[in-house]
């Protein structure tokens, strides 16, 4: 029984969100989990066979799973380090409000409002050896042998090109968050350090970065999670190719579930991806929390 003066009104306010979350997230996730222990054709419920952990065991023997995982880890490592280093550098510069900083801010933020598919198509055309601008431009500045190079059709460059485009797209968002974080640091701290004779590097290292830790943690977790879930850019730019060269886990999952008619196996890959992201994010949060306590 509710105590006098207290109502259950908050429960009614939360109920729509709870129902929505349950119906559209928790229930499908549970169905996907169950599906990962089955083999079926994705068409008829009568075709479902319970296979236990067979899909997961098969994953460990599947060289394309390891290939996709390796690509994913490489992608996350390169993208995360680039975005954090570049994002922090640009945020520090923009925070100092140099001349024209608002123009640069706008330029950095434009990719955020563009659709991934549009960005992917745009860069696919630019990188095309037949109709693109990149090859001829590089040749014009004296780089030999690249005028008709298949940037997206070569195993050596397909994934790095997707990384570059991804960094270009996500950098603005990271700068936005980091800049907001920088602007919350009280100016008094920096002024006091300056009066005490601290160099700009020491101010950054001993004042700015420690105070930025919570924002950096958010950025790192968001970038890592999004990078692990990368799908749209790969599908548009390389379709996972050539011959699995740029295939990441989400693309591998899609290929198995929808192109090769193995929805059970596909959901097992999705579950593995979920566990990997959960572990990586957990480790990041734990490390960040330990740093804060110290």
């Amino acid at each position: 029984m509710a105590r006098p003066g207290r109502t259950n009104f908050h429960i009614w306010l939360l109920l729509p969100a709870f129902v929505f979350y349950t119906v559209f997230w928790i229930a499908p996730a549970l169905i996907a989990l169950l599906s990962s222990f089955t083999q079926w054709n994705g068409i008829s419920l009568a075709s479902i066979h319970w296979v236990g952990v067979a899909n997961y065991l098969e994953l460990f023997d599947d060289r394309w799973f390891w290939n996709a995982l390796r690509n994913n880890l490489l992608f996350v490592a390169v993208v995360l380090s680039s975005i954090i280093i570049l994002g922090m550098t640009y945020a520090l510069i923009l925070n100092a409000k140099p001349r024209g900083h608002s123009v640069f801010s706008t330029i950095f933020f434009i990719p955020i409002v563009l659709s991934s598919v549009v960005i992917g198509l745009l860069f696919t055309q630019m990188l095309s050896p037949t109709v693109g601008l990149v090859g001829p431009a590089l040749a014009a500045v004296g780089i030999p042998g690249v005028e008709q190079y298949q940037w997206l059709g070569s195993k050596e460059t397909a994934l790095p090109m997707v990384m570059l485009v991804y960094i270009w797209r996500e950098l603005g968002f990271a700068i936005l968050l980091l800049l907001a974080g920088l602007q919350t640091i009280p100016n008094d701290y920096i002024e006091a350090a300056r009066i005490d004779g601290a160099s700009p590097w020491n101010i950054t290292r001993h004042i700015t970065l420690p105070l930025m830790r919570p924002v950096l943690t958010v950025v790192i977790v968001l970038v890592t999670t999004n990078a692990f879930l990368l799908f749209d850019l790969v599908i548009v730019m390389t379709n996972g190719g050539p011959f699995h060269g740029s295939e990441v886990l989400s693309v591998f999952m899609y290929s198995q579930a929808f192109l090769k008619g193995n929805p059970g196996y596909g959901t097992a890959i999705a579950m593995m991806l979920f566990v990997i992201i959960l572990c990586v994010s957990g480790i990041q949060l734990a490390l960040s929390g330990r740093g804060q306590k110290a």
Partner: protein
């Protein structure tokens, strides 16, 4: 009092009208039709056909819902899995339709289709017959193995278009262009289906109809076995020829990274003299406003057993077992195969009809008429391989293997061995 009487009479009349209207409503059957034909001219033609049917059949209302191409398969699968498919469904003929048939989700239409078969071009049964039963009617017919060329560019190099009738002639012409500094074949396999089609046409030229049909259908139909194995030299030769074309430098430089639209754009812009795609290329040429476009049959590889054979593709209209009114749905399917609807399809869709109507009086693009001639002169017709092979073996061992052969990750023999292993495992897994 008289006012009350009038009101009562009016109420009674209203009730009588409602009952009469309700009765009429009860007699009207509404059928939901789903298709992936969401873009003109295909969507326009189907919508017109639906309007014609509804006007001619007052008791039946067909409601057409179209989905964007890539979203359609997911929507349809989900609907079937959830037990709520439409009353009439359009599906890709062949293996795609057979998945639903295998699951017992489609009505057996064998008896209904029999009289329709009498007007069907021969050799197309493999597209809708599974395990001896028929599961739908074909809508439109596409010819796959067509080579488009730029006659002006050929003339500039002194190449006789007639020489393209053979593989040797095609390769010699390609070499002549390459020597002149022009990369001859516009090709982009980023999405893998284009490579699938190229390989398909080469393989189709090497094998006999029986060999070709059986090597694919053995993964779908337990009663069919194939004496020819994918690892046999004859099948492996198809990958060797495919790789040789790439290694010779005949494909445009973005052959692994460009998509089909980019490749088509190069051809229509006169930057490459050759481009292979199906009969739908006629519509693409019109849409691009391309002037210098001519066509011939995709050149059969040397010593081809059936050099005029055709590769075909079609859509199938099927009736799910859960349909609300099977007789009304059959009536609509029969209507789709009728002469006025097929004429509409051919005239407005730049495509052919699978039915043998006298089309001499129909308005057809000259290039389309030429393709109809290729079809009439063909020794036989077979569907695309991806329509007659299970997707479990097709995607990895044709679409992906083709790329691997071009990148050097797989040798042609390794591609053949891998494909055969998949087929053997699949048949063993199903106890065939």
């Amino acid at each position: 009092m008289s006012k009350f009487r009038s009101l009562r009479a009016l109420t009674l009349a209203g009730v009588a009208l409602l009952i009469a209207h309700g009765g009429a409503m009860a007699q009207t059957v509404t059928l939901n039709l789903w298709s992936e034909l969401s873009a003109p001219p295909e969507s326009t033609v189907l919508n017109k056909a639906v309007e014609m049917f509804n006007a001619a059949n007052p008791g039946i209302v067909v409601k057409h819902t179209s989905f964007e191409n890539t979203a359609y398969e997911t929507a349809l699968r989900t609907a079937f899995a959830g037990g709520t498919p439409p009353d009439i469904a359009e599906v890709n003929a062949g293996s795609n339709a057979f998945q639903y048939a295998q699951s017992g989700q489609l009505m057996d239409l064998t008896d209904f289709v029999k009289p329709i078969e009498e007007k069907l071009r021969p050799g197309l049964e493999t597209m809708y017959q599974y395990d001896g039963k028929s599961y739908g009617v074909l809508w439109g017919l596409k010819v796959g193995n067509v080579l488009y060329y730029n006659p002006v560019m050929l003339k500039e190099q002194g190449i006789d278009p007639a020489s393209l009738a053979t593989w040797e002639g095609f390769m010699a012409a390609s070499q002549k262009f390459l020597d002149a500094g022009i990369t001859p074949i516009a090709f982009g396999d980023r999405d893998q289906w284009t490579g699938n089609h190229y390989f398909n046409h080469i393989l189709h030229g090497i094998l006999t109809k029986d060999e070709y049909d059986h090597i694919g259908l053995q993964t779908l139909d337990p009663s069919i076995t194939s004496a020819l194995k994918w690892s046999d030299p004859k099948a492996v030769h198809a990958w060797e020829v495919y790789k040789a074309v790439a290694d010779a430098g005949y494909f445009t430089p973005g052959y692994l990274s460009d998509d089909n639209d980019t490749a088509a754009g190069l051809f229509f812009a006169g930057r490459a003299p050759f481009y292979s795609t199906g009969s739908w290329g006629v519509g693409m040429a019109k849409a691009n406003g391309a002037q210098n476009v001519a066509l011939t049959l995709f050149p059969p590889v040397a010593d081809s057993p059936e050099p005029t054979a055709i590769v075909t593709n079609s859509l199938l209209f099927t009736i799910p077992t859960t349909t609300s009114d099977a007789d009304a749905a059959k009536k609509f399917l029969e209507f789709l195969t009728s002469e006025p609807v097929q004429k509409l399809y051919v005239e407005e869709n730049f495509d052919l009809s699978p039915y043998q109507y006298d089309s001499s009086g129909w308005t057809m693009d000259p290039m389309l008429r030429q393709i109809a001639g290729l079809l009439d002169n063909a020794q036989n017709a077979s569907p695309f391989l991806d329509m007659i092979e299970d997707v479990k073996c097709m995607q990895e061992n044709v679409n992906e293997a083709n790329v691997a052969v071009l990148t050097g990750d797989l040798s042609p023999q390794e591609a053949g061995d891998m494909h055969q292993e998949c087929v053997t495992d699949l048949r063993a897994e199903r106890g065939w």
